[in-house]
């Protein structure tokens, strides 16, 4: 079973089958560091607290200490010529308010992906981009956004130097990712080249404005760049297919088949694997046609 869009930067993700009010009654301490470097000695029971909108949505009985990222004072958004730099603590509401420069056509994906949240605008006032990414749920729209826009993440380990990873390589499965114990997602870079591409967006859900059952994004560089297809929500982790030019309908379908074995389609209450596969083919073909010309 999957969880709601998350907003906490957690290092360990657990399924807790426990009941309780959403006072997190096992928490005994809140740390409010000025810098992430102050947290050197990581131990079980620690959790980074970003927006809190996932963390506070279920009991966290193995957590006793919350480390507040709210006091770090990271600049939420910095847009420059080379692209957009987003702090992990940037709130969804702040991202949604961003007006990317008009030549960045694919900047419109920001709005599309924010609207793909199951949660309402009220949650956006607290939930963070980083929280959604490190929750690593298949339907996390910030994952869809940053993978489709060929983003890179900067990660801060508790010891050692910061490292950079491709967004497409971060999520490893439903609710799992490459973060090491105590490692923190610091920021997301969205490169100008990807933002300048044209795009097509498709999404489906079982209930109106509900959780995404599939979310597909196609991008294509100018003048005759290849089609890039990012498949999320329907698969347990993001799948990205890059083509030279525009594939034929058959090539596209074959590429999907070889990249996504049946076991990679998510099976939960928000959609059956067969339906997700069916819609993936359907929307991928629509995107191929839309961006093909």
């Amino acid at each position: 079973m999957s969880k709601n869009v998350g907003t906490v930067v957690m290092t360990r993700l657990r399924r807790v089958l426990d009941k309780g009010p959403m006072n997190l009654n096992t928490i005994t301490e809140i740390k409010q560091p000025r810098s992430a470097d102050e947290i050197r000695h990581w131990r079980d029971g620690y959790a980074w607290l970003a927006g809190g909108t996932w963390l506070f949505s279920e009991p966290q009985i193995h957590t006793d200490t919350l480390i507040d990222l709210g006091t770090l004072g990271w600049q939420a958004i910095a847009a420059g010529k080379d692209g957009i730099e987003l702090a992990a603590t940037c709130r969804i509401a702040e991202l949604y308010a961003l007006q990317p420069s008009p030549e960045w056509i694919a900047g419109s994906l920001i709005g599309e992906c924010c609207r793909a949240f199951l949660s309402s605008f009220k949650i956006w006032n607290e939930a963070t981009i980083g929280g959604n990414i490190v929750m690593s749920l298949p339907a996390g729209p910030m994952i869809s956004l940053t993978v489709a826009l060929e983003g890179t993440y900067t990660l801060l380990p508790r010891d050692g130097l910061p490292r950079e990873v491709r967004a497409a390589d971060f999520v490893t499965g439903n609710h799992t990712n490459i973060l090491q114990s105590g490692e923190l997602l610091r920021s997301i870079h969205l490169p100008a080249a990807a933002l300048a591409k044209s795009f097509a967006f498709r999404r489906s859900e079982l209930t109106h404005l509900g959780r995404s059952s599939v979310l597909l994004i196609g991008t294509r560089g100018k003048p005759d760049g290849g089609l890039m297809l990012t498949i999320t929500a329907g698969t347990v982790k993001p799948v990205q297919l890059a083509f030279d030019g525009t594939p034929s309908s058959e090539q596209l379908r074959n590429a999907i088949d070889s990249a996504i074995p049946d076991s990679l389609y998510l099976d939960d209450v928000h959609g059956s694997p067969a339906h997700r596969r069916h819609l993936t083919y359907h929307y991928a073909e629509q995107i191929r046609r839309e961006l093909g010309a």
Partner: protein, 904 residues
Amino acid sequence: MKLQVNGKSFAATPAPGQCLRVFLRDLGWYGVKKGCDGGDCGACTVWVDEKPVHSCLYPAFRAEGKEITTIEGLAKNGELHPMQQAFLDAQSFQCGYCAAGMIMTAAALSDEQKQDLPRALKGNLCRCTGYGSIRDAFAGVKNIAPDDAGASVGASVPNPFAEGIVTGHARYTSDIPPMDGLLHLKVLRSPHAHANILSIDRSEAMAVPGVVDVFTWEDVPRRLYSTAIHEDNRVDPDDTYMLDNVARFVGQRIAAVVAETEGAAEEGCRRLKVGYEILPAVFDPTEAMEPGAPVLHDKGGDSRILHPNKNVFLELHGEVGSVAQGFAAADAIYEETYDAPRQQHVHLETMQSITWRGEDGRLHVRTSVQGPFIVKGKLCYLFGILPADLHVFTERVGGGFGGKQDMMSEDLPLLATIKTGRPVMWEFTREEQFTGATTRHPMKTRVKLGAKKDGTLTAMQFRIVSNTGAYGNHGGETLANGMSGPWAVYRCPNKKGDGYAVYTNLQCGGGFRGYGTGQPTFAVESALDELAALLNVDPIEMRRKNMIGPDDEVESVLEGASDLTMGSYGLDQCVDAIEKALASRRGIPKPEGEDWLEGSGVALSMLDCVPPTEQRSGSEVTLRPDGGYHFTVGSVEIGNGLVTAQQQVVAQVMGCPTARVTFLNADTDKTPYDSGTFASVGMMVPTKAVENASVALREKLLAFAARTTGTKVEQCRLEDDAVLCGDRRVLLTELYSAARAQGEELTCFRKAYGSPRTVAFMVYGVRLAVHRVSGEIRILFSIEAVDAGVVMNPNQLRGQVIGGVVQGIGWALQEKMVYDDAGAVINPTLRNYRIPTFADAPITEVFFADTFDAIGPLGSKSIAENTINPVAPAIGNALKAATGVRFTALPFTEDRIFSKLTET
């Protein structure tokens, strides 16, 4: 830390992991509601520095230095906020529990957001209204009629709690300051579907700081009972212990821990060490009836289980005429099995109770339940308490839908109060509502219908297998109900039915709006369309040809004379109205594109307005010193609008405005006995008692006035605040004083009993579009026609209808409880069990038939349950019309239907 709440400064330190919702309530702001504690329902919405947030997800420590606004702080200088006023004018609530969060969200919307309400409101759930009246608030619609003296029947007078609801001051069960020494109760629930409990080691739990006591099966009275609330407890099996040494479903309560804080109680539960001997489990009712299946209840005859060794709690069989002959005479026969699944009630206020021993030495139970008097009886039985020593009452109840027709939250806190002497509170979490409470009974209905070429039914046969879960509670009564109305609504000489209520190792079925009739209605109303198609008869004509008329006997398959009579008949008007409405092509056009298919469907439903079991109530109406009236009645206000209707009845009879009528309800100390508010009885029994008492008081007043003034009683009549005695006008205040001086009490008490019983009709029509590739369904037009007799309060009734329709749409299109192989619910949260949001709820029209019921109060009758029944089959029929495919299992979600669409 310091913060501002509603303009007042507070200095208080939250616990490190405390959420803002609980912190604010600790500070006394009870307008901040708990709906889900998962950020899904929005009932806890407040503003932090003007920004709306879900306070259940907001870390309280972050509120330092912030300005918080709750619903209580929205009105300024005694003036309601325009959005509060709009909600008041449109009466955009029923139980009112969601209203605080809904208004705090609505009041924060920009003009741009108001243009897209489905999106703007998707973080706020309402289970009562179906969002119709909430839409009205944004459109500036006024749904309130003037409160004119003596003209309240038929007028949309406002809910008497309306002001309290929109300002956050209406008090629900937990909205009282904590009592001194209050303990919190938490329950450990079984992780196993079937297990013997070999041992429970409580030592580590007792060592948790703050834990006061632990209760297991060894600490409770070993008395079998049923949690189901009925006047006659013998209709339900005595198969349940308060705490048992056998676990029969995942989620069954195993032990209770009481502690100084909720956190300590939770930790205590986690520290309990339970030794289980795991037993084989069975989840499918058909398998459960097979030889060799695990037996759930090895109990004796005094439990009233028909075949304990076959897991059959109850079987019912009946035949009128001969279906063999009927099918032999048929030109066409249709037979199919329909699968109607569970549905959770999702009343926004979870089940909860507060218990204490008062200064009077008696025990008190403040609870959220649909039948406080029966709860009192059960508690007296379980604990051996004298009735005089126990007081059970409700204040405002945040929704029920049948979910609160079981005693589930009262017994354990009372046990703890008796044992510790201290006040105890227990609130179900939302997850517990999904794992440990009840649901609609899953039923499989095999239906076989035969008809002549012209569509005349010759035989109806069915076999219902109902999964009652681990305990029988409502299993028998829902089965009997399901074998009645859906089959009795058609005139057919040959009918035969078999029904089985079967135990399995899953959570229990319970009372759910429709009470067992929605499931077979799905089967018979789908089958009727199929049979019509076989005969090439129009589905509406098929119904007209066979549905009962005003002079027909109401007869299903169960034998015996019945007190069921037709106090009024409006089915024909309803069918005509739906046919006409669908033909008008009103509603939204089909989306463009050849992948969108379109179809219309109808279904009808009949429901008894009172159950066949015992049902009684009483009311006392009194003239107050100020010339107004006060009534008491034992029924519960759960968002059904009952107290509004009762006020209207008093006002109508006494010839005054409702504003002069005060009341007290649902209190075993202070109001007359009442069997409980369920089975659509609210209008028919307690409100009838209110009418009876009002009429009696009117006669008494007039007689007294006549005597006092020396006028003939025929020349006296009530007029607003006075009695006209010939030419003389005697104020009621004067009359009161005169009576008092003479030692006469101007008060009357009357009872009402639920017999004879009338029936109410409902027809639902829908036009929808379905996308043949994705399977997406969009409802384009939705209308329900309702035969409710005299419409007491059109706005309230419309709200009940739309709310029922939308709950039906949820059941038909999206709600789905999923279990893993071990019998555990895998989606016990509102983000994973999706009830309709504003975005899922179509605009629904409501048609009222023009009838006058001979049995119900002032010509009216009850309908709120039946509203849900025809929705799912009508949608199924429309889906068939659009696609040519008959879907036989609910819900019709895209991922379940798409593959059959692409096949065609």
